[in-house]
Every structure is written in structure tokens, then in C-alpha cells.
Point group: C2
Chain length 443, copies 2
């Protein structure tokens, strides 16, 4: 199969993918209309293991079955639809998730799962039989919105958390909390297949996703060749000063926790610029919170990210050192000292995707959009691919989304953008299948 | 009466004032023990027109009556106890308030009212008859804690708000709100005297108060000669940026409302230093308040103070200009623009006390503590004297309080500090009475 013109071998149905996106959105959780067209211009609320999620998962399984796939549902509700092949072997997987945030869009993980289905539909329409099995995968609860752990299903699969830990999570968005296990049973998705990369292995994992950031749009690129996911560390930061009367306390006698915290926020941004990484403060609360009382306590969260683990570490150390330094002179002239404490919330090392997979994505993108419209990119957000990459060769494909907006009803990628990403995915998976064949020959 | 040795004419009872402070605190609202001695080391919770306030006010009236005072209670619960004199005339008033904050101390306004009582007791013990009437005054609801307007009783008296506006205020610290009028009736303090400086005039007003700031302590001074009260303006400030994903949004694409707000807070502090005034941010809230979402909306309050009205105006203008400037480049490199809006909460012009009254306080302080232990000072906080000064000659006396702490159970001034302040008050009132006599002669 000539690599420069691979897609000419496939019979790609125009608009079927985008129509499937809109049809399933409208059937299973459409809400939050933001434009004139009620059948396309809404978001989706489809919380993990809700009735909407149950509905779309059952629809998805029936579609996979109609293509001749073998269906496997594992013990934590991950769904595998395995498309038949010429040879036996572990499947090349194409996965993402069908659940959304409470105020989610139509694309996010949904695009990845429906595109994996569209790859298999295209195989069938084209009479194409891959060398090795190809699986469409829907990972359970990637968002962590209803049950508060993101990438939950893929984390159990990768052995990062135990099955029992997953089962015991309680919902945080229901009037009366229920457990994951309860909802797996209720929706019929507590399956028989072991939820483990060891007993139910996949040979590789590809994931197609919207960027969720503005880089591709701003750089006018069509395809992001995702080479990894940046590392991050989240901290609670506590600043303590002294509550005093705003009218009667001279500047020289103040120990203003909010002024110190403000200097820290400005400094964190400077550190992010210096290291070409990211520092963000998303939450901040203070006490006593009265117009005429100087704040004594400030709590904020610090989110530090970089694509290199060692640089992330440097950034965190510099934040700690600089924040301590700010505390020594909280108000410029004061001889009072504030205190600052850090408490780690969570940390995730940098993920580096597999070069074989990246190469397959790159070659495919070159065929679909040309080199000028591709960009090598590091994902800012976590994805199920972070978990699969722990145990099998993995890569991702990004497409632009309008203004980088995601986790929002107004999340949007155009039909043309979606089509280009789909073709890139199709070509990458077929190239990987050919690579596996060539290696099995040479072995 | 020789001015350099005036107090030798008076028989001052040692410890009676401090004992009265502790006795009434323990009878009427003592709470919040902070030291080993339960009879002295507590705060006081005595909300305006509560049962505790009713109790101390009735006690206060009976004490005034026992000294031979004529009692007047006005329509908003201000109490006047007028001590008899040689000549007819408007009384020289010594006033403050007996109510406290929910977590108040034993001193604050209480010191001022009980000291005015102690002045009259000392007159009686000393057989001293003033030239003109001297009144002990308890103003209703200075704190504005239960009924949310500070200096309420003195504001009606001064014509700043109407009697009806006062009556209609509803309590904010009760399970079921009740009106001021309801509580005046319930406690028996809706009096017959017109609540007006016109129909119930006073000739002058002296007020003795703890500083509520650390200046006297830090400068090791015993007496603050208060020449005025600084002007202030309070604003709601609203900053709007854009909510974006902290992991996927490059610094160059951000419009971080909290980063902009932090720069504003730092800048406000610089402006305060520049003008030798005060800028304080006591409250701050943000949305959407998630660890991995860049804040879109920040609201904070800005409290700007200066002892000169025109400088206050300059400070406010400079805050507005600088905040706008920060919004133009919210993240240093971004071409996005944040927006900022100001909304005035309240403003109060600078108060300049009367030079005659200030001179009386100064001469008295020189006798009591000597020039090295006095400091000319501007009050940072508002007091009932701000209202009286609109219509009659007014001045105040400050004493140090520990670490400047006030509106707190641990508020503390030592018996010696209190004694020096009382003697300064006594001497100032007698000097003012002599001044009135000398002027009536020359007139």
C-alpha cells in the first residue's frame, strides 16, 4: 500500500462522522444551545454512568456489533469492540471517552470514540481487512466530573489504581451520592473481562482529540502531532499574615496576607515566562473577608506545568524560594513576616509518546494536510492516552477548536477540521497495522 | 484655676474607672476569655439594643441619676446625662458608645462612656461645680454590627440620616430580623427628646477612645491628640478576563483576571506609599474557582484613605488609571484586554476637629504625661465625633492599645494607660469649661 497515497484505498463516507456526532449528541444529553441551530449548536451533559451515558454506550455497542466486532466490557465499564483481521494478535486500539463535563461540548472525548467507530465503518465499506485486529475503545469516566478522578477507567486498566478503589468512588454531582460500582451495575456495564492491560492487552493506542487550547488555531495549523503530555504539579498554598484595621494600621505596621499572595501570583507568572512553562492560580479564598479588615489568611491553588520533569521541578523550587522571600518583607517597608506553606495536591510526570506511533501520525498528516499545516505539539491536558502509554506504544492527534474553548457548551471544531483529523487517524492506524506486519515478517 | 496644675483640684478615686470597666463588662456581655483571669481577660459581646445593651444602659442611667444628672433619652435611643452647673447653657458633652462588635473587647466605645461618667463622679467627689452643664452621652449603635450602619444614633442627631431611615434598619445578626424601632420600643429606649442637634444642642463634644491602631504603641506615646479623622472611599472593583484551561492555554493567549487583579493590588499598595495614605483590599472572590481553570471574574473591595480630601481624590484617580493600564496588557505578552469597573460603596470626607478643643486636649495631656509622651494624630477609623463635629466644636483623645488590636476579644489597654487618658479627658473638659466662661465674660 503506497504510503504517499494511502487514503485512496478507502471509501470514506462524506459527512457520516459529523452527522453521527450530532445525532448522538441530540439523543444523549444535548443541552445549552448557544447558536441558532438547535440540532448542532448545543453542548452536551453526559456524566459518566448516567442514563445519558448508558444510552450512548448501548448505541455504541450495537453499532460495533453491526460491523462484526467482538465486544468486551471489562469490570470497570471500559468497552472494547474488536474488528476482525487477517492474523491473530493483540488489537491496535483507537480509544477515548463518551462522557462529558456537566457543561461539556459535543467534541472532546466523543470525537475520539465516534472517529474510532468511523474507522471501522470505513474498513467495512472499503472491504478492508487489517493485518491485525483493530479495536474501538470507550474508556469509562475520563472526565472525573461525577466521580472525582479523571481517566478513571484507563487508570484501572493501566494498574494505576485498583478496581476496588474505582468501585468505591462516590458521585459528587447527585443529590444522594452513589458509588461507581452501584452505577456500573445499574447501567449494566460491570463486565466480565478483567480490567487490566495484562489480561486484556492492546498492542498500541491512538487517540484523536480536540486540542482544548488555542495554539493550532493561532498558528493556523490543521493537525497537531502530539508527542507527549506535559508534567504538572498542583499545590495548596497557605499564606498567613495578620488581621488589622484598614483605617488605623499604617503601611509600615501591616502584614497583609493578600498583598503577599498577590505578589506571589505575579511572581509565579514571571517564573512561568522564564522557564517557558505554565503557572496558574485558579482558586483563591481569604479570611476574615471584610472591607475594612486586612486579610490574615489566604489560600490559593498553584498549578505548575512543563513538558520536562526536571524543569517542572526547578519551577516549583523557584516558586517556593520566591514566595518565602516575599514573606520576609510582606509590605515592602514592614518588619513583620508572613508565612507560606505548600501542600501537594497531585503531581503527574511528563508523558513521552512512542516514536513509531508519532511517525505514523506524522506520515498520515503529511498526506492529508501537508507539512505546512501540521505542528508538533505537547498536550497541556491529561488524556486516557497518558495511562495507555505506561504499557503500550501510544500517540495522539489534535485538531483546532475555536478559541481553545473546551469543557463548555460552546466548544466547537468545524466539519472540515474534524474530517481532516479523522483522515489522519485512519491513515495513522493503517500505517501502524502495516508496520506491525512488516515487523512480524522480519521477526 | 492654674492650668499647669489643674488636676490637683480634683479628688480622683484610684482604680474606680478600671473597676467599673471590668464590673460592667462582666455583668453585661462578657465572653471570649483569652487570659488566665476570668474577671478581666475576656472580650464583650454587646450588640446594639440587645438585652446586654439594655442592661448596661439602664445601669448607666441609674448611675447618672445618683450623681444628680438630668436624664434625656432621645427618639433614637441616644442618652444624655446632664450634670448641673453654675450657669445655664448648652452642655459640654463627653460621649461615645456602649455597644460592641460581635467579637468586641472591653474598651472601644465603652471606655469613652464610662470615662465620661467618671468625670462626673470626680466632679461630685471633688465638690466641683462646672461653669456650664457637662453631659455624659451614650450614642446608640455606633458599631453598625447588628443594625448595619455605623454611627447610627449620632448620624440621626447630626441630621445625616433621618429618624425614619434609622427606625427602618433591620438587624442582620438575629435569626429573625427585627427593626431598630422594634428594639427601641422593646428595650424602653424610644425616648421623648427630639433626636436633633437643633432642638437638643450640645456646646462641644469630647471623646476618649483607644487608638485601634499601633502607632502610639510603636512610637511609645501615652496620649494621641486627635486633630481629625481621615477621609475614605470604598469601592467594589470588578475585573473580567477569560476562563481558559490552565494546562492548554499558553501564556501569550491568556487573559487571567486574577493575575490582573493581583497586579492591581500590588499597584494600590505602591500608590498608598507614594501618597502616604492607605489602600487596602479586604475582600476578594473569583469565578469559576477551579484549580485548572484560569479565573474569568474577580471582584474585590478597595478601601482608600487619606487625611486630605484632595489627596484621597488623587489616589483614587491614580488607582483607576493604573488599573486600566494593567488591563491593557493583562499577562505581559498577551494582546488580550481585561476590563475593570469601579462602583462606589461609600465615601466620607476628611474631618478636621476644632482648634479650641484640640488645644484643651493638648494642654491637659502636657500636664498629665508631658510633651514627649504625646503625639498629634489623625484617626484612621470613624467615630461618633465625626458626626458631632458637623455641628459643634469637637476633639478626641487616644490612648495606646496592645498591638493596635481592636474589634477583637483580646483588645487591651493597661490600667495605667487608661488612667492617663482619663486624666487627660478630665483636664480637657474642665479647661474647655473655663474657656467658655472666659468667653462669656468677654462677650
Amino acid at each position: 500500500m503506497p504510503s504517499s497515497n494511502l487514503l485512496s484505498n478507502f471509501n470514506i463516507a462524506p459527512n457520516r462522522l459529523i452527522n453521527t456526532i450530532h445525532e448522538t449528541a441530540n439523543l444523549f444529553g444535548a443541552t445549552g444551545q448557544w447558536g441558532p441551530n438547535s440540532t448542532t449548536d448545543t453542548g452536551v451533559r453526559r456524566l459518566a454512568l448516567s442514563d445519558e451515558d448508558k444510552g450512548v454506550r448501548n448505541w455504541y455497542i450495537s453499532e460495533l456489533k453491526s460491523l462484526g466486532c467482538e465486544i468486551k466490557i471489562d469490570e470497570v465499564g471500559n468497552i472494547f469492540g474488536v474488528y476482525p483481521s487477517k492474523h491473530q494478535g493483540e488489537p491496535t486500539a483507537i480509544g477515548s471517552h463518551l462522557d462529558t463535563q456537566p457543561t461539556g461540548g459535543r467534541y472532546d472525548g466523543i470525537l475520539g470514540v465516534l472517529s474510532s467507530l468511523e474507522v471501522l465503518r470505513t474498513f467495512k465499506d472499503s472491504g478492508y481487512i487489517p493485518n491485525f485486529p483493530v479495536a474501538s475503545v470507550c474508556w469509562m469516566n475520563e472526565e472525573g466530573a461525577r466521580f472525582p478522578l479523571s481517566m478513571m477507567g484507563s487508570s484501572v486498566y493501566a494498574g494505576v489504581i485498583s478496581k476496588q478503589e474505582c468501585y468505591d468512588f462516590e458521585s459528587i454531582l447527585d443529590p444522594k451520592p452513589v458509588s461507581v460500582k452501584h452505577e456500573l451495575l445499574r447501567t449494566g456495564f460491570l463486565g466480565q473481562t478483567s480490567a487490566s492491560y495484562q489480561s486484556n492487552p492492546i498492542a498500541a493506542h491512538f487517540e484523536y482529540h480536540i486540542e482544548q487550547g488555542p495554539i493550532l488555531q493561532d498558528e493556523e495549523k490543521d493537525i497537531g502531532i502530539v508527542v507527549g503530555v506535559q508534567a504538572y504539579s498542583w499545590f495548596d498554598v497557605y499564606v498567613k499574615g495578620k488581621a488589622q484595621h484598614t483605617g488605623t494600621t499604617p503601611l509600615s505596621a501591616r502584614n497583609d496576607a493578600l498583598l503577599s499572595a498577590s505578589k506571589m501570583i505575579v511572581k509565579a507568572n514571571e517564573i512561568a515566562h522564564k522557564y517557558e512553562g505554565l503557572c496558574s492560580i485558579g482558586t483563591l479564598t481569604l479570611k476574615p473577608a471584610s472591607v475594612n479588615v486586612i486579610p490574615e489568611y489566604v489560600h490559593f491553588t498553584l498549578d505548575v506545568r512543563h513538558h520536562l520533569d526536571e524543569t517542572l521541578k526547578l519551577m516549583v523550587e523557584e516558586c517556593k524560594t520566591e514566595f518565602e522571600s516575599i514573606c520576609k518583607k510582606p509590605n515592602g517597608t514592614s518588619n513583620k513576616q508572613a508565612t507560606v506553606e505548600f501542600s501537594l495536591i497531585q503531581t503527574s510526570p511528563a508523558v513521552h509518546f512512542n516514536q513509531d506511533n508519532i511517525n505514523c501520525v506524522r506520515e498520515s498528516a503529511l498526506e492529508v494536510v501537508g507539512v505546512d499545516k501540521t505542528l508538533t505539539i505537547v498536550s497541556g491536558a491529561g488524556h486516557d492516552s497518558c495511562q495507555t502509554s505506561l504499557h503500550c506504544p501510544t500517540a495522539m492527534i489534535f485538531i483546532p477548536c475555536k478559541d481553545g474553548v473546551s469543557h463548555n457548551f460552546e466548544e466547537y471544531s468545524s466539519p472540515d477540521e474534524i474530517d481532516k483529523g479523522f483522515k489522519t487517524l485512519l491513515g495513522a492506524v493503517v500505517r501502524y497495522d502495516e508496520l506491525r506486519k512488516s515487523r512480524s515478517r522480519s521477526a
